[in-house]
């Protein structure tokens, strides 16, 4: 007897259809699995055998040959267990119903129950786009699957139920979910009002988010740099449903989805400074997985103690910061992951951390400070538009009862500034000031004679590098947007100059 079941393999963020073909013949008892299965798929044999037996079904005592087509594509992951089992059951005549057009995914436990698997969302979206309408996924993936419109998803909790679904005996599909309800359930747990004092840094963060600029916070240890960074997602505009699906795809492939099944909040990722280049950018020997910068897509990548990261890890950020995507190339092929994030980095002003402190004496020599700061390369710093100093917090600020502005208020201002930018860049294919290239700067950031003079005197007096110019103008444009000003005034330029970095 012969059967054919449809399943999907994952290639980056794209699903690729895979036919599971089973042929049962008379002959020596054997079980052959062909079609480039990886270790996890090969091992499925034992899981499938036990699951079938423990579900009170029969595992055929014949010559079983299974082929995964197309034969030249590597099949990875444990989600082939269920299609394999169904295919065997169908080939051995234990399932008689039609299985055409049903996409089956899921990992089996030895007792026949179904375990959730990673990558369901991107597979379902690809499959829907290819015209598939009916799906069987593990119950644990029901939430994730519920957000996709235009398909029918069944989420059995074990093999027996899956068989029943195919037979049409039990048929209550997953109830579609709404994005709004997920958003209501999730919260950041941080708020700008928790950050006491730090007025200068808060303002800089607001500008950074408004214009999509990357930001570097420099300051002594223990002054709230990390807390401030954690508040950045709370003042970013809410994710739209399409953005959320994009982010969820990446997190689904990485196997990091929460119960809710969708990411409705902007991600905040903090890779440790021992992180390798591959863990940041993505990669892997067989299956190419997204790295931290892709998991931070549409959110914030926070790199604490920037100079402590390895040089190669830091340099690898340069291209994605520019292109907003990362292309990971391996012998098996190249995969492009999105990586559109705001980089927030923090560092101490010097190795001992006390440089510029009002209370503590710095014990570093100028040469040490120079060396410490030089660990971050110029080209990377060029991509960080705002570089600000954080205050050594004053005791008065910590105990003051003055109400600090909540995130919601800041977010309102940012949304208005973003609206202005969207309007401006309608025809340019970009959405925020930070993405402006030289030609956009020429077009949208004309300086008045007065502003040009101020910028010129700043360059001469403060010995700024020529590379700082476009950074300063872009930031000044954002400050003007926050001010609802069509023109970049000298005050906007001067404020932008104050965030140029290298001041200490």
């Amino acid at each position: 007897m012969f059967s054919r079941i449809t399943s999907f393999a994952l290639n980056g963020l794209e699903g690729v259809p895979v036919e599971v073909e089973t042929d049962i013949n008379k002959g020596m008892v054997s079980y052959d699995l062909v079609g480039l299965p990886d270790a996890a798929v090969k091992e499925s044999k034992e899981r499938v055998r036990s699951a079938i037996k423990n579900s009170a079904l029969d595992f055929p005592i014949n010559k079983v040959t299974i082929n995964l087509a197309p034969a030249d594509l590597k099949k990875e992951g444990s989600h082939f267990d269920l299609p394999l089992a169904i295919s065997i059951l169908k080939a051995s005549g234990q399932i008689l119903a039609d299985t055409d057009g049903i996409v089956i995914l899921g990992e089996l436990a030895l007792d026949g129950s179904l375990r959730p698997v990673s990558g369901i969302l991107p597979i379902l979206i690809s499959a829907r786009d290819k015209g598939f309408k009916k799906f069987i996924v593990p119950a644990g993936n029901a939430n994730e699957a519920g957000y996709i419109e235009g398909i029918t998803v069944y989420a059995p909790s074990d093999l027996k139920q899956a068989v029943a679904v195919i037979a049409g005996e039990s048929s209550s599909p997953v109830v579609p979910k709404t994005f709004a309800s997920a958003r209501g359930r999730q919260s950041y747990g941080y708020d700008m009002s928790l950050v006491k004092g730090q007025k200068v840094a808060k303002r800089a963060v607001e500008i950074a988010v408004a214009g999509g600029h990357n930001i570097l916070l420099a300051g002594p240890p223990g002054t709230g740099k990390t807390l401030l960074a954690r508040c950045i997602p709370t003042i970013m505009p809410d994710l739209t449903f399409d953005e959320a699906l994009e982010v969820t795809k990446i997190h689904s492939v990485a196997g990091e989805l929460s119960e809710d099944g969708i990411v409705s909040l902007r991600p905040f990722r903090t890779p440790h400074h021992t992180a390798t280049t591959v863990s940041l950018c993505g990669g892997g020997s067989v299956k190419i997985r997204p790295g931290e910068i892709s998991k931070a897509h549409k959110g914030v990548l926070f790199m604490d103690e920037l100079p402590e990261y390895s040089r190669s890890a830091l340099e690898s950020l340069r291209q994605p910061l520019e292109d907003k995507v990362i292309t990971v190339t391996r012998a098996g092929g190249a995969i492009t992951f999105p990586a559109d994030f705001i980089l927030c980095a923090s560092m101490n002003p010097c190795p001992c951390g006390n440089y510029g402190s009002a209370y503590l004496q710095c014990t570093c020599t100028p040469a040490q400070i120079h060396r410490y700061r030089n660990r971050v390369s110029g080209p990377l710093l060029d991509r960080i538009d705002l570089q600000v100093e954080v205050d050594g917090v004053m005791y008065d600020d910590l105990v003051s009862e003055d109400a600090e502005e909540p995130s919601a208020t800041v977010k309102e201002r940012i949304e208005k500034a973003r609206e202005i930018q969207r309007e401006r860049f309608k025809e340019d294919g970009i959405s925020v000031n930070a993405e402006m290239g030289e030609k956009h700067i020429k077009k949208y950031c004309r300086l008045t004679r007065e502003s040009e003079d101020v910028l010129k005197s700043a360059f001469e007096s403060l010995r700024l590098s020529a590379r700082a110019r476009s950074r300063i103008i872009k930031v000044a444009r954002t400050i003007a947007d926050l001010d609802y000003s069509a023109e970049i005034s000298p005050a906007h330029i001067l404020e932008a100059v104050s965030y140029r970095g290298g001041a200490v």
């Binding site: 200068v200 510029g356 020599t365 100028p366 100093e389 004053m394 001067l494 404020e495 001041a503």
Partner: protein, 340 residues
């Protein structure tokens, strides 16, 4: 261009003999004798020619104690160097010199004051200093920036510029002023060369200004030499408890001139200083208000200034930056500012 005796001295210096502290008549009479005691190689005529060629190729001019270009002030100290290796304008050795020294770890505010006062001094004097980070760098940059003349005395040969990050500064000193060392070009720096070098800084100068010094700073050694040689010592005052100012305050206790600005130095030397007419600063309302507060507090925290003015802090950021551009205030780090 060098006399036979001078060449003898140079050879002696190149082969490792210092010739320090030997009197001039002795040097002249015994130049042959001196060579005999250091016989390896220095007799050889070919080697002599090679050595002189090497110095010329490196652009090094030697001023020996037998040369008329040798500064008298330096010749009068206890152990004057026998040979000064020079790069730049050797005529500056005979000009009126004033040294400005300090430690590597100097407060940003003191660095700014140091650069300013060095610039003013350079209108009258050649400013003498070392080449270290911190105060030395500020003094040299301040004087060069004001278009003045400088001498930098190194504690190593010219093949080894220390610290490396000041190579560019060294080049501009050699171009616009004079770099001096008593060590042959191939001498790497050694920790014990620095205090010895300080006697040259002190010996060249009419007086010394110590802008910062910890308890054991090398700047104090320069000050001690100056006092020993009968030169005036000036020092910046510091408030109690600042580590980089302890040495300065100790000097003042011992009788150094307390120096707040250029007028204190000129008064001490009995010179007139023509205060340049205060430039019209062209400040707007916001800028003058901010400047006034920072000046009255000495050191001010940006949000605190804003609070005093009753404005959101980001409205005074442009004023603060403008004042920095006009060089009226400096950034101390951590969003604190100080008037210059």
């Amino acid at each position: 261009m060098y006399t036979e005796e001078e060449i003898n001295l140079i050879m002696l210096s190149l082969s490792g003999g210092s010739g320090r502290g030997v009197s001039v008549p002795d040097l002249q009479k015994a130049s042959d004798n001196l060579i005999k005691t250091h016989r390896h190689g220095v007799y050889n005529k070919v080697k002599r020619a090679d050595a002189l060629k090497m110095l010329e190729e490196k652009g090094i001019e030697c001023v020996t104690r037998l040369s008329p270009a040798y500064p008298e002030a330096l010749a009068n100290i206890d152990s004057p160097p026998a040979v000064l290796y020079c790069k730049g304008d050797t005529g500056l050795l005979k000009s009126d010199c004033f040294s400005v020294v300090g430690s590597r770890r100097t407060l940003p505010k003191a660095l700014a004051a140091c650069a300013k006062i060095a610039g003013e001094l350079s209108k009258v004097f050649t400013v003498v200093s070392g080449l270290a980070d911190g105060a030395d760098t500020s003094a040299l940059e301040g004087a060069l920036g004001a278009g003045g003349k400088v001498i930098s005395v190194l504690a190593s040969g010219f093949d080894y510029i220390y610290p490396q990050c000041n190579r560019q500064l060294f080049e501009s000193v050699a171009t616009h002023g004079l770099a001096v060392s008593e060590y042959p070009p191939d001498t790497p720096p050694r920790p014990y060369y620095f205090p010895v070098r300080n006697r040259i800084i002190a010996g060249l100068s009419k007086g010394v200004l110590v802008v910062s010094a910890g308890e054991k700073s090398g700047a104090l050694i320069t000050a001690d030499y100056s006092a020993e040689y009968g030169r005036d010592v000036y020092a910046f005052p510091y408030s109690a408890g600042i580590a980089s100012g302890k040495g300065c305050n100790a000097l003042i206790k011992k009788g150094a001139y307390l120096t707040e600005n250029i007028l204190d130095i000129f008064e001490g030397l009995g010179l007139d200083f023509n205060t340049p007419a205060e430039k019209t600063l062209n400040l707007n309302e916001n800028e003058s208000a901010v400047l006034e507060i920072i000046r009255s507090e000495g050191e001010a925290f940006l949000p605190a200034v804003a609070q005093k003015l009753g404005k959101p802090h980001y409205e005074i950021i442009p004023a603060v930056t403008a004042l920095q551009i006009k060089k009226l205030i400096i950034n101390l780090g951590g969003n604190r500012y100080s008037a210059v």
